[in-house]
């Protein structure tokens, strides 16, 4: 879409990058205010949207700011003033927003923000991993991960309705893996403009700072006698949003044929070995699951679509009967209890009378590829783990939970991963 032509209003099925699909969703959502600063690989989203603004395709007030701290601050102000406000960011820009992310959530402002997941330097790296958004996982934002461009588009439209729902009123970030999704070209089915307009509805804020007849104070001091209660409220709203997210996913399914829940389980019915992943890696893993299933192996995949609020109860149900589980983390805890997803999954499954042996693979830092072969090797490892665990459960469970594996990193002996020692990454040694 190199020129400035306006999209036709009907449903379309066309090739798009994740960034393009996201900008298209933003055009159809037609927010009142967008404030943004360009940062790779988010730039393509905002650049496309800015073009819609300059071409008069949307009447959005666009605020080009001098940093991401200002972008999220401007959006906070606009949202408090009663506007449907959005921004977009990535990696270090996201990190620069960290302070204000808490403020937006604390004031219960329904800001929606696409995030192109990117590594946090140093050394300098512009490629995709999840260390940025994981760093703000407890800021009080709903976090929805997208598997591909289609989901980046679908999730963003749902995010508006989730954020603004009267019993939620929380900011929502919709992530997509930097470059892998933002810049990868895929077939995307977009809804008609009118369908999106109706789905997100008109935003009618309960209160607005611009309503001079009903003045209000936003950002008052809340000290020892009130702050804690307000944070408790926030936690409760996050927990309650699980139901709304599921309802919106269902409503979106009725409209588009694409249904969404907090998690997605892929061939998990009778799975004995399972991988749990977020983002684009879930798509790669599905291919591997199909191949292994064709060979008669009882393997499955659990995709965590919504990382905040964490779908703990869903995971307990889904994973209760699994023998061995590998949690794939695209960010590391650096000698913490493994990656952040691993730590949460373990906590979620705590106390199950018959849970899986759980182990952790940190992979893909700084945009390092994850291949189907690597994922296959993880399933092979899981088979071995399940066998050993049936003999010496306590020792194997402890060992698996305390030893993170690094998937796809060059080890001194040249092996990238334990089970498929011969694998090499693009010939790099």
């Amino acid at each position: 879409m190199g020129d400035s032509t306006h999209m036709p209003a009907g449903r379309r099925r066309t090739t798009m990058t994740g960034a393009e699909a996201t900008a298209e969703a933003m055009r159809q959502i037609h927010p009142d205010v967008v404030a943004a600063y360009p940062i790779t690989p988010q730039t393509d989203i905002v650049m496309r949207f800015a073009r819609f603004v300059s071409d008069g395709v949307v009447q959005t007030e666009f605020v080009p700011v001098e940093s991401e701290h200002s972008a999220i601050s401007a959006v906070l102000g606009a949202s408090a003033a009663g506007a449907r406000a959005m921004t977009a960011t990535s990696g270090p820009g996201f990190a620069l927003m960290h302070e204000i992310l808490y403020v937006v959530a604390g004031y219960r402002l329904p800001v929606v923000m696409p995030v192109a997941n990117r590594a946090l330097s140093g050394p300098i790296n512009i490629h995709g991993d999840h260390s940025d958004t994981m760093g703000s996982r407890d800021a009080g934002w709903i976090q929805i991960f997208s598997e591909n461009a289609q989901e980046a588009y679908d999730n963003l439209i749902q995010a508006v309705r989730i954020a603004e729902h009267p019993s939620v009123r929380l900011p929502v970030m919709v992530t997509q893996d930097g470059f892998i999704i933002t810049h990868g070209m895929e077939i995307v089915e977009t809804l008609a403009d009118e369908e999106v307009r109706q789905f997100v509805g008109t935003y009618e804020p309960e209160r607005s700072l611009l309503d001079v007849d009903h003045p209000m104070t936003v950002g008052a001091l809340a000290l020892q006698n009130s702050y804690f209660e307000l944070k408790r409220q926030l936690a409760e709203a996050m927990a309650a949003s699980r139901r709304i997210i599921a309802d919106v996913g269902e409503a979106f399914g009725r409209l588009s044929g694409r249904y969404y829940g907090l998690t997605e389980s892929y061939r998990m019915e009778d799975a004995e070995l399972a991988i749990l992943a977020l983002g684009s890696t879930a798509g790669t893993a599905k291919v591997v699951v199909d191949e292994l299933r064709a060979r008669g192996q009882k393997v499955g995949l659990v995709k965590v679509r919504v990382f905040r609020p964490f779908p703990a109860a869903h995971l307990r149900d889904l994973l209760r009967h699994v023998r061995a589980l590998a949690v794939l983390d695209r960010s590391d805890g650096y000698a913490g209890m493994g990656g952040p997803v691993f730590a949460e999954v373990k906590a979620a499954l705590y106390g199950l009378p018959q849970g899986p042996v759980i182990t952790n693979y940190v992979y893909g830092l700084g945009g390092r590829d994850i291949t189907p072969e690597m994922i296959e090797s993880v399933y092979a490892d899981l088979g071995e783990l399940a066998r050993r665990a049936s003999k010496e459960p306590e020792r194997v469970v402890a060992e698996a939970a305390l030893t993170p594996h690094y998937l796809g990193v060059r080890e001194p002996d040249g092996a990238l991963i334990s089970a498929l020692g011969a694998l090499q990454l693009n010939g790099e040694r």
Binding site: Y107, R108, R207, P215, G219, A220, S226, Q233
Partner: protein, 112 residues
């Protein structure tokens, strides 16, 4: 320098006893001007501004610069300091023209 006793009693914290279920969402306060009831003067420690109205030329620099709107006006003339809201930062004394020197920061003791 004379020691002035702080006259304002420390503001009693507005007692908030509501459970979390009944507090306004996000801590929004559904009215304006609420800063007036927060007695920032209670934060003053050590120093307070004293205004010499004989010397004052009513240039209003102190009024413009005071971060707490604690410089009081009568029409277009400075008339005093609102010690309930003056937190004793001394900015007014700094911006008052040196030749005029109508504001002095003086030591203050907290009562009891």
């Amino acid at each position: 320098m004379s020691v002035v006793k702080k006259t304002m009693p420390a503001e009693k914290e507005a007692s908030v006893t509501l459970p979390w279920t009944r507090m306004a969402e996000g801590g929004l306060v559904p009215r304006g001007g609420t800063a007036a009831s927060v007695r920032t003067g209670a934060w003053r420690t050590g120093q307070m501004p004293v205004l010499d109205l004989e010397a004052c030329i009513h240039c209003l620099r102190c009024w413009i610069w005071c971060p707490d709107s604690a410089v009081l006006l009568d029409g277009e003339k400075v008339s005093g300091i609102d010690y309930d809201h003056c937190k004793g930062c001394g900015i007014c004394a700094q911006v008052c023209p040196p030749k005029v020197h109508a504001i002095q920061m003086v030591a203050e003791e907290v009562e009891g």
